[in-house]
């Protein structure tokens, strides 16, 4: 065995692993250290869970944290579930052959390269109190003033954020599902039909199990992204409650370097929650769906 044969694979993996280990894991690990109070720059070298305790249980921050956590979970779970359902429905809609299918599919995918910053602004233009929807309502005689239009962006319930995420993620998950549907063809359904399965049974017992792996993996990405997303809640959110990411960045930007410990603790908590929810979800879905 020559040197090259023995070390070929590690050498090929090295550049990519260097990026992952130094930048990704290194950043995370150092962030975790900072969240534990390690900040030699300002002379703090003791390790403690004080920042975690402070944001979760102190009178000053507990409400900000728990309400923020509730909002973050609500927005990300809500966006993921709604997106997944609409993605499945719209993919089934576009799967049938009809005149103009190519054009419709192209327009369906048009917002895929649109960044979330832009998506959030688009939702603002559409749903703000003087936005396009409110103006349409006014033309129809439903409202007289912008203030008559319900507050659905920059609202306490995060409806604007959910709208923004759903608009972005439906085509995203939909394209994944559509690809699976197209690769399946209609053979399975024809078979089920010939065995007497009705439309609903064909959907439930044939199509759904086949698209489930794609739908689940798309949903995982959507959930992980929405949970840690910053731009959308920063543009479409309110002062209270704020999502955890927005609170973390505010702590982090505080000129007082001590506040970084709290900001870092929040983003480590976000990472831990996402990581374990995703792992649990994958474990559950592997048990209920046989991907292969």
């Amino acid at each position: 065995m020559t040197f090259w044969d023995r070390w070929r694979i590690p050498i090929m993996l090295a550049p990519t692993l260097a990026v992952i280990v130094f930048l990704f894991l290194g950043g995370l690990a150092y962030g975790a250290l900072v969240s534990l109070g390690w900040q030699p720059i300002i002379g703090r070298t003791e390790i403690s869970l004080r920042a975690y305790h402070n944001i979760m249980f102190s009178e000053q921050y507990a409400e900000v944290f728990w309400q923020g956590l509730a909002l973050t979970i609500w927005v990300s779970v809500g966006s993921t579930v709604i997106s997944a359902m609409l993605a499945l429905a719209t993919a089934l809609l576009l799967r049938r052959s009809f005149f103009g299918k190519r054009l419709a599919t192209f327009l369906y995918q048009l917002n895929l390269p649109v960044p979330h910053v832009v998506a959030a602004i688009g939702i603002l233009f559409l749903f703000s109190q003087s936005g396009l929807l409110s103006r349409t309502g006014a033309q129809l005689g439903l409202f007289d003033f912008p203030r008559d239009f319900p507050v659905v962006v920059k609202d306490k319930l995060g409806i604007g954020m959910i709208l923004s995420f759903v608009w972005k993620e439906v085509p995203f998950v939909g394209v994944i599902v559509l690809a699976v549907l197209q690769s399946l063809g209609v053979d399975y359904e024809d078979l089920a039909r010939s065995l007497g399965a009705n439309r609903w049974q064909r959907f439930l017992y044939v199509i759904l199990p086949l698209v489930m792996p794609g739908l689940l993996s798309g949903s995982i990405l959507v959930f992980a992204f929405t949970f840690g997303s910053y731009e959308v809640p920063a543009i479409l959110g309110v002062r209270f409650p704020r999502t955890l990411t927005v609170t973390a960045v505010r702590f982090f930007r505080n000129p007082d370097l001590n506040a970084r410990t709290e900001g870092m603790a929040i983003s480590i908590i976000i990472s831990i929650i996402v990581f374990f929810l995703v792992l649990g979800y994958m474990w559950l879905s592997r048990r209920t769906v046989r991907g292969d």
């Binding site: 992952i20 950043g27 009809f98 048009l110």
Partner: protein, 282 residues
């Protein structure tokens, strides 16, 4: 007679179903496009008073301020372009050997390596960037393009490696052997055999590397420390103001290249490619 009515009913039902299907498709496309149409309305509007549905006065004011001498848009476009090109090129160069190893060989610990490489798609970038921020300041990498570009590699690498690994999984390395036995050197073999074979994968990987870098806000913001103005950074700060025509025009300038590039490369894309997940990161 009875049979005749039955077929009539059936074809009427079919026609109704088709009409409903069309209505649903039109509604879907309409809902997906309205936010984009709202940008066009806003970008050319001037004194667009409530409750006018369409702007009655059109103006190029926002566009003039984008090309004005004191506009930051050219600088932001330049920075975004430099970053996206550099990140795309280096991520493909860095990721290619790893993709080859993952696509062609089985080895011990492969699953762990794969998990490591895709883990940045799950863990929010915010934690990584905050952790890197302090060290990047110390190493002189905060507040400049080099540091920001390095951080952009983190969300980009998983998609580049996964896409290229998928291509290498269907690649036959024997062709390289044949080229070499015919006297081609390492470089020539790579250029004439390997590269053409994996080219479609490189196009898709580059598309996603570009899109993810081009759209990146929070990593640029945290590592750029206000010194590196890219299009998303400029747009985000403009969006906190109330100049809607300018916000809309800037958004259009920001999005146009991405849509153009997607249209040009669409034929290489399939929804089943693992890179498609990159769309979820923008």
């Amino acid at each position: 007679m009875a049979a005749h009515t039955a077929t009539y009913d059936q074809s009427a039902r079919k026609r109704l179903a088709r009409a409903l299907h069309y209505a649903a498709v039109v509604l879907l496309v309409f809902l997906l496009l309205t936010p984009l149409i709202a940008f066009l309305f806003n970008a050319f509007s001037f004194r667009w008073f409530y409750p006018q549905l369409f702007p009655t006065e059109l103006s190029l004011r926002a566009w003039e301020s984008i090309v004005a001498a004191n506009s930051k848009v050219p600088e932001a476009l330049l920075n975004s372009t430099i970053l996206a090109v550099a990140v795309t090129f280096s991520s493909v160069v860095i990721g290619m050997p790893a993709a080859r190893a993952l696509g062609l060989y089985t080895f011990r610990g492969k699953r762990v390596i794969e998990f490591l490489i895709i883990s940045p798609t799950i863990v929010p970038g915010i934690a990584v960037a905050m952790g890197l921020n302090i060290n990047f300041i110390r190493w002189g990498l905060a507040g400049n393009l080099l540091g920001v570009g390095l951080v952009h590699l983190v969300p980009v690498m998983p998609y580049v490696v996964l896409t290229l690994a998928g291509v290498f999984a269907n690649y036959d390395p024997d062709f390289e052997q044949q080229a070499r036995s015919l006297g081609a050197g390492t470089l020539r073999t790579f250029w004439h055999v390997t590269l053409p074979a994996v080219f479609p994968g490189i196009v898709v990987a580059s598309l996603f590397a570009y899109l993810i870098s081009w759209s990146q806000y929070i990593l640029t913001f945290l590592i750029g420390a206000g010194q590196v103005i890219t299009m998303p950074v400029l747009l985000f700060s403009t969006a906190s103001g109330s100049n809607n025509p300018l916000i809309a025009a800037m958004s259009l300038v920001f999005v146009a290249p991405s849509i153009l590039i997607l249209v040009l490369t669409a034929r290489f894309l399939s929804g089943k490619s693992s890179a498609i997940g990159g769309f979820g990161q923008l």
